[in-house]
Structure formats: C-alpha cells, structure tokens
C-alpha cells in the first residue's frame, strides 16, 4: 500500500468505485466497456487486484467485484485529485466546464501529494467542484448531500441542478447550451406518460427545455423544500 499504484490500476479502481457507488457490484462487461479493454483482460486484472496484499477488491466469480476498504481509499484519493484539478483549472486558469474533464483524467495520475494540498488550499478546501461533484477531503471522507435524478421528481416541483456527472464534452456542451448546468434552478413543467419526455423550465430565464429520460438520468438535483 506504500508505493504508488500505476495509472491503469488507479483507473480500474476509480471506475469500480463509480459503478458501485449506488451499491451492488461492478461486472466484467461494465468495466470492459468503460475502460475500453476486453472482458478477458478485465477478468485477468481483477483477479490480480483481488489477490494482492492488501487486496483492493473482492472478486465474486461470475458476479462482479466490489472494492475493499483499501480499494475504496485508493479510488477516493484519485477522485479527490480529479475533482480538485477540475475545480482549479476552471477557477485559476479559465477552463470551461467541458474542457476540464479530459485534462483532469491525465493530470490526476501525475499529481503529487504536495501539489494536491497546494491546490486544495488555493481553492479554500472546497467540498464540491464546479461540476457539483463532492470532493473527498484530505482524510478521504466524502461530503454528503441529498441528491436525486431529474427522472425522480414530480411535476411542478422546483429543484437546483447539483451536478452533471457525465464526462463527454459534447453532452456537457449540449446541456449547457440549454442552460442546464450546476447551480441552476429549474422547475419540472410536465412529463408525458409513455416516453417520459419532460418539459423543464429554467427559473432564471423562463426558458423551456425538452429532455428525454436517458439524458435526464445524467442530471442530479437538489430538491428545494
């Protein structure tokens, strides 16, 4: 646990964390698809990661994997760096919302503990980044916040966009164009019964946006009482 994990292993752990964050296991195929490697390679790697000391995950054959505490901490470490970088690039270097993810994806593996702490300090130890994602603190505990998908709120309910966890710049730019970005207040005007298409109003501008349930799943909300 002392020496640095290679960046591909960090990627495995990060992805497993993301996939299992809602509970449950990460399957071989899910990992293969998100890491863009073959299922056979995933099985291989995952077996290795399960048998190291300390082991980073538990491997339920034919079922999937789950992080151990060591794996969870390793994942949080890299997620913390990722989100700090995103935040910093936007705050300090004028990056836009859709530019930061790719950059952070690379830099997170090249960041020293010192740089991490300097950036954290420069940002004033933030709990959330501009994407609305929680930033694990230096003890790797994750700020909690009640959040819910756009698909799960009722018609006429008002909410604030907390985060758009999607990574694809195209999707982010698309949503941004319609004003759908973190810290924006919205109201659900209607949802059609069959295809679940929604009309959403941006409170500030009064503009209306049509959005389907697939994309809506990507939008995390904070309900306003």
């Amino acid at each position: 646990m002392t020496d640095q994990l290679s960046s591909n292993i960090q990627d495995y752990l990060k992805r497993i964390y993301e996939i299992t964050s809602g509970g449950g296991l990460a399957t071989t195929n899910q990992l293969a698809s998100v890491l863009k490697v073959s299922p056979a390679s995933v099985t291989n790697m995952v077996q290795k990661l399960a048998t190291t000391r300390p082991s980073y995950l538990v491997y339920y054959k034919h079922k999937g994997v789950q992080l151990t505490e060591a794996g969870r901490l390793a994942a949080l470490k890299i997620i913390r760096r990722h989100r700090l970088i995103e935040h910093y690039l936007m705050d300090a270097l004028g990056y836009t919302w859709d530019e930061v993810h790719q950059e952070a994806e690379i830099l997170e593996h090249a960041m020293s503990p010192l740089l991490e702490s300097r950036i954290d300090a420069a940002l004033g130890h933030p709990e959330f980044n501009p994407h609305g994602n929680p930033i694990p603190n230096s003890n790797l505990s994750v700020p909690e916040i009640e959040q819910i998908s756009l698909n799960a709120i009722d018609v006429n309910q008002t909410a604030v966009i907390l985060s758009v966890p999607h990574e694809d710049p195209k999707v982010l730019r698309y949503l941004d164009k319609f004003g759908l970005r973190p810290n924006v207040q919205i109201k659900l005007l209607s949802r059609t019964p069959y295809d679940q298409t929604m009309r959403v109003q941006i409170t500030a501008t009064g503009e209306e946006v049509i959005i389907g349930p697939t994309l809506a799943e990507e939008i995390a909300l904070l309900i306003e009482e």
Copy 2:
C-alpha cells in the same frame, strides 16, 4: 511526428539536448548515467530513435548522438513545459525553489497544449523562469542571454546569478542557504591559485561565502558592465 511521444522517449531527447547544448555529442555512457539505465539499453534505444521516420537523432556509432531538427523541437517542447511548470508552481502555488524540479519532471509529461498555453498566458509569456533558465516560446525559439560560469570571472568583478541549473534539491537548498540564488548580485573577492577556491560576497547583505570550483561550475552568471 503527429502522435505523442512516450515519456521515456521525451526523457531521452531532453537529456540529449541538455548534454549537447554546449556543442558536441552525447555519449552512451553519459546518457546511461543520467537516465539511470544500462549502456546497452541506451544503444538500443538510440538506434531506434535514429531510424524512425522522422528520425529524432543521428547516431555516430562509437561516438555518440546528436539531435536532428525534429529531435531538437521535441526536446524544446518538453523543456518549455518543464520550465513553465516550475515557474507557475512558484508563482501561483507557493512552491519553493528546491521543490519545483521534481514536480515538473512528472507534470511535463502530462501537460496538454491547452494547459501549456493557459499557464504561459497566466505568467505573461515569460522568457525565463525563476531558476533563470530560458523558456522556449510557443514557436520553440529560445531566448538568448550571455552567460558565464562563476569559475570564469575575474577577482573583484561583479555579476548577477542568472541560474543554477542543478537539479538536486539538496544542492539547491545548500546554495540557497548562503544566499546563492538567481537574481542575486555577487562580487568575487578572491580565488586561491592552487585549488581555485573562491570567496564570494553577496552584495545585498555583505556576507561572504566560500565556494569550490566544482560547485561554482553550477552557477551561471550575467556579467554587469
């Protein structure tokens, strides 16, 4: 030339650039020692680098290597990044002189063109970094300045420390402790005939430092008229 060079190749080119910057060739053993790999590995790698299209260096068997124009540009690209990072970390994130080199050594390989340009802009397109090293501009042309080693000035001559190209934090901290760092004005008080030991005075404080010729070689000066 389109796709990114792997970081070990970037390191080879950077080191060759540094070694040959005073003219001449970089030998196998020099490279092996600075890259911490075996001479056989260097020969191998160097032969590969000479036969790629475009070739990054010319290989004079048993003599050494020299960068081609493509190799020189690739080296300057990475050196530019290295020096921008050093500068930025000190300016924006409170790094000290001796902390930046190691960090830059890693980050230089993880830096996108976008990040490079943002940092360059944030620093106001500097020509030199706090180490006193020239920063190639975005066209990769290198600012020139007349510089000379501390070993090469005359007694009673006044000069300003331009740079301390050394990389070892211990050496940097050692020199720093005595006030020997870039932009400091000094005067050579004396040089003993046999072992070339020098007494150097820091103009600002009036303090005197004893320094031997080996360490003095590491200090580049700008002569004041």
